[in-house]
């Protein structure tokens, strides 16, 4: 008697009725889309996310966490909304030679963080946050980064950039000069020139490398061109993930650590204002990651090392360590999703929203008016 071993397909009769439960693609026009705020807009005719309104037959607008609980950013010590626009220029002083020295101190420390509501992860961090501080400098400056290792494990900081091998943060290189692998309780000052301009990253390079990166030891490193870039609303997105059960694949994906954070707190931007995204992929265990924005296109500057965009697109793919500067403007008010177009990552946390203007004011008339103002929109609203 082996019903459990039956080849069920073979015996399945004709009955294949598809349950009419799924409003799969109904996108959402109201923010706070993941948590309690994800309740349907009362009377909204947009087929949107009534997904938690009544027990039982909820709509499924998009992947989301369970309602009623959010990540405790205070306990984490950082909030991804603040991480987004937090550029750390360090402290500066003039050297005797007249050059500018820009200096930071990064403390490697072990720190438990919440990567999804209720899901804790024993992270290894720079300055208690994941990603580490976004270090920003100008091309040609002298940089000094003091690493203090107060973690229980040896660490380094390996910068992407151009520098001598002693400053490379590689174990086995320069230990006799105090560099190489920095043991717990020790410290080291990395010193090099800010070059080339572009968007780079830094991370720990102690073996096992995958484990040290996956635990959270990474951050963005921006070198501005001498003449700067055009004025813009700038933000950093570090694409990462967390292997919470240590099976060498990630359970939670995100930008700036907390899954679905920018669904719960959409990124507020102004209509028609230039938005510049510094996008860095440090995701461990998965070969590729990607970025896609809805209802818009962006200029793509790979590695940010050229001032000329390479492509006008709405989706880019990046391997680990690859990074790009993206520039775009939103011509319409509303909420616009952005996510990895590796849909699996998107549904495991790597999804967010840009909120342009005040969506509560966004009615059909406003949208029509906004459309008409576009060069191809045909002038005044009908």
């Amino acid at each position: 008697m082996s019903d459990r071993r039956l080849s069920r397909r073979a015996l399945l009769g004709a009955a294949a009725t598809v349950p009419a439960a799924a409003g799969l693609h109904s996108l959402v026009s109201r923010g706070g889309l993941g948590g309690e705020a994800a309740l349907a807009e009362p009377g909204a005719g947009n087929g949107a996310a009534g997904h938690l309104a009544h027990g039982g037959h909820e709509r499924f607008a998009h992947a989301a966490f369970a309602p009623g609980r959010t990540v405790d950013h205070r306990a984490n010590g950082f909030n991804p909304t603040e991480v987004l626009r937090d550029f750390d220029w360090g402290r500066t002083r003039r050297l005797a030679s007249g050059r500018l020295l820009r200096e930071w101190t990064l403390v490697a420390q072990d720190h438990e963080i919440e990567v999804a509501p209720g899901v804790k992860y024993e992270a290894w961090t720079y300055n208690g946050r994941v990603p580490g501080p976004t270090l920003r400098a100008r091309e040609g400056e002298r940089l000094r980064i003091n690493l203090v290792n107060s973690s229980e494990h040896p660490h380094t900081i390996h910068f992407h950039g151009i520098h001598p091998s002693l400053m490379d943060g590689m174990p086995g290189i320069g230990e006799r000069m105090g560099g190489g692998q920095i043991e717990p309780g020790e410290s080291f000052a990395y010193e090099f020139e800010a070059e080339p301009f572009g968007l780079h990253l830094y991370h720990c390079h102690v073996a096992p490398l995958a484990a040290h990166i996956a635990h959270g030891l990474y951050g963005a490193f921006i070198v501005d061109p001498k003449k700067g870039r055009p004025e813009a609303d700038e933000m950093v997105m570090v694409m990462n993930g967390f292997d919470t059960n240590f099976d060498l694949s990630n359970e939670v994906y995100a930008v700036n650590t907390v899954g679905f954070h920018y669904v719960n707190e959409p990124i507020r931007v102004k209509r028609d204002a230039l938005v510049r995204v510094y996008l860095v992929n440090v995701l461990e265990y998965d070969p590729l990651n990607s970025f896609h924005v809805h209802a818009n296109f962006f200029q793509h500057y790979p590695t940010g090392t050229s001032l000329e965009p390479k492509e006008y697109t709405d989706t880019i793919v990046q391997g680990q360590g690859q990074r790009s500067i993206l520039e775009l403007k939103f011509p319409f008010d509303g909420d616009y999703m952005f996510h990895a177009h590796v849909s699996e990552f998107a549904e495991l946390g790597w999804t967010g929203f840009f909120r342009v203007g005040d969506p509560s004011l966004l009615g059909g008339a406003a949208a029509a008016a906004a459309y008409c103002k576009l060069p191809w929109g045909g002038g005044s609203p009908a």
């Binding site: 459990r4 294949a16 027990g55 499924f60 899901v119 804790k120 967390f242």
Partner: protein
């Protein structure tokens, strides 16, 4: 030593029951003190909390997947998030998200699952651990209403009662044949029952693998078998002591043909209880499609069980009584009807631990029945294993194996 001990006890003046209670009281006091002092000398526990959670039940409703989890480990577990096929999905938890030791919780997950597709539900705990539940083929779990119980009853009748009844139609044949044929039929029954016992044991162990280890898991199968065997042996001894069964050392008739038939029916009935349980739960979870082919397979498979029941009813002999139609019907129901009961239990409240136990009970009952009817297959020289019995036993095993193929597909 012995003598000294006996000499002392009357002088102590304590009654025997007090002497029996003193160690118990001391153990109680020790446990109390140990708990009050917080386990002196054991120190802090090392290592992270142990998370062991098993999935007891999966129920699919339109747009919803319900998982019943049982915390099988020593530490409380907190359910933090749930992902279905690599997508986080909103859910609510009956009884809270924290599951204490041996506690259970039911997660109601919103997910637009599609009929016929496969799903993996991944529960993420607060410590980042994962519990996976597989849904091999998604289909809506039938609502447990009257229609459903009716269907389960019909199913039980199809696979249990009717085939057993059909098998009993061999009774006239059994009555006509000579003693060698009877020995062969009994040996055939023994072979058949042995195969059923093995099958039930394997089935029970397989289910036990999914059951929470804290409740015993595979041990439940063996415990169930042992208890069933002992209970049946006890009942047998009791009936013999009251003289209701002639102490038989001879053939089937001598040990009471009807009594033996009753035992066989009981053993098969307990086995069919487990079988019904498995069918009911498989049907409820959509793992079983009720094709006519499957029902026919079960019918042929179980028809042999009917033959096993009537084999001892040769009539004549020491008891001489030819059981009436009512008694025959009773035997058939005893063997077949538990399939209905099992299907109800399995469909409404399937619990892997209970199922493992019941399969074990079936195994024990069958083992006892084999012991009971084995004497009937002896030949004139009193040998258990003679060419006819051996061939018949192998035929019994083969019969179930071959008809079993019809339901394994």
């Amino acid at each position: 030593m012995e003598a000294a001990a006996r000499a002392v006890s009357p002088r102590g003046g304590l009654p025997a029951w007090a002497l029996g209670l003193i160690p118990l009281a001391l153990i109680g006091a020790l446990i109390g003190a140990f708990a009050l002092l917080g386990g002196p000398g054991l120190g802090e526990r090392t290592g992270p909390p142990v998370e062991k959670v098993s999935v007891e039940q999966t129920v699919l409703r339109p747009g919803t997947i319900e998982l019943t989890l049982r915390n099988d480990g020593p530490d409380p577990v907190e359910v933090a998030q749930v992902a279905v096929n690599d997508a986080f999905a909103p859910f609510s938890a009956d009884g809270g998200r924290e599951i204490g030791r041996l506690g259970s919780a039911t997660l109601r997950i919103s997910y637009p699952w599609i009929e016929g597709e496969a799903y993996e539900v991944r529960v993420l705990t607060s410590a980042g651990g994962t519990v996976d539940a597989e849904i091999p083929v998604a289909t809506e779990t039938p609502a447990a209403d009257l229609d459903f119980y009716g269907l389960m009853a019909l199913l039980g009748i199809y696979v249990g009662v009717i085939p057993v009844g059909l098998g009993m139609l061999w009774l006239p044949f059994v009555r006509r044949v000579g003693p060698t044929w009877i020995a062969a039929l009994m040996a055939f029954t023994v072979g058949l029952l042995a195969f059923l016992a093995i099958d039930a044991a394997l089935e029970g162990l397989e289910i036990a693998a999914d059951a929470p280890a804290a409740f015993g898991g595979a041990a439940l199968v063996f415990a169930g078998a042992l208890v069933a065997y002992l209970v049946l042996a006890g009942v047998d001894a009791y009936l013999r002591a009251r003289g209701e069964v002639s102490a038989g050392t001879g053939g089937a008739a001598a040990s009471g043909g009807l009594y033996l038939a009753l035992l066989v029916a009981l053993g098969i009935g307990l086995h069919n209880l487990g079988e019904g349980l498995a069918i009911g739960s498989a049907y409820a979870t959509g793992a079983l499609a009720l094709g006519a082919f499957l029902v026919v397979g079960f019918a042929i498979h179980n028809t042999t069980e009917g033959l096993a029941i009537v084999a001892p009813l040769r009539g004549g002999g020491a008891t001489g009584a030819r059981p009436g139609l009512g008694r025959l019907l009773g035997l058939g129901l005893l063997a077949g009807a538990p399939a209905v009961l099992g299907a109800w239990i399995g469909a409404a409240a399937f619990d892997p631990s209970l199922a493992a136990l019941l399969f074990g009970v079936g195994v024990g009952a069958i083992a006892r029945v084999i012991v009971q009817i084995a004497p009937s297959m002896r030949d004139g020289d009193g040998r258990y294993l003679h060419p006819v019995s051996v061939a018949a036993m192998i035929a019994g095993i083969a019969a179930l194996y071959v008809t079993g193929l019809l339901v394994t597909v």
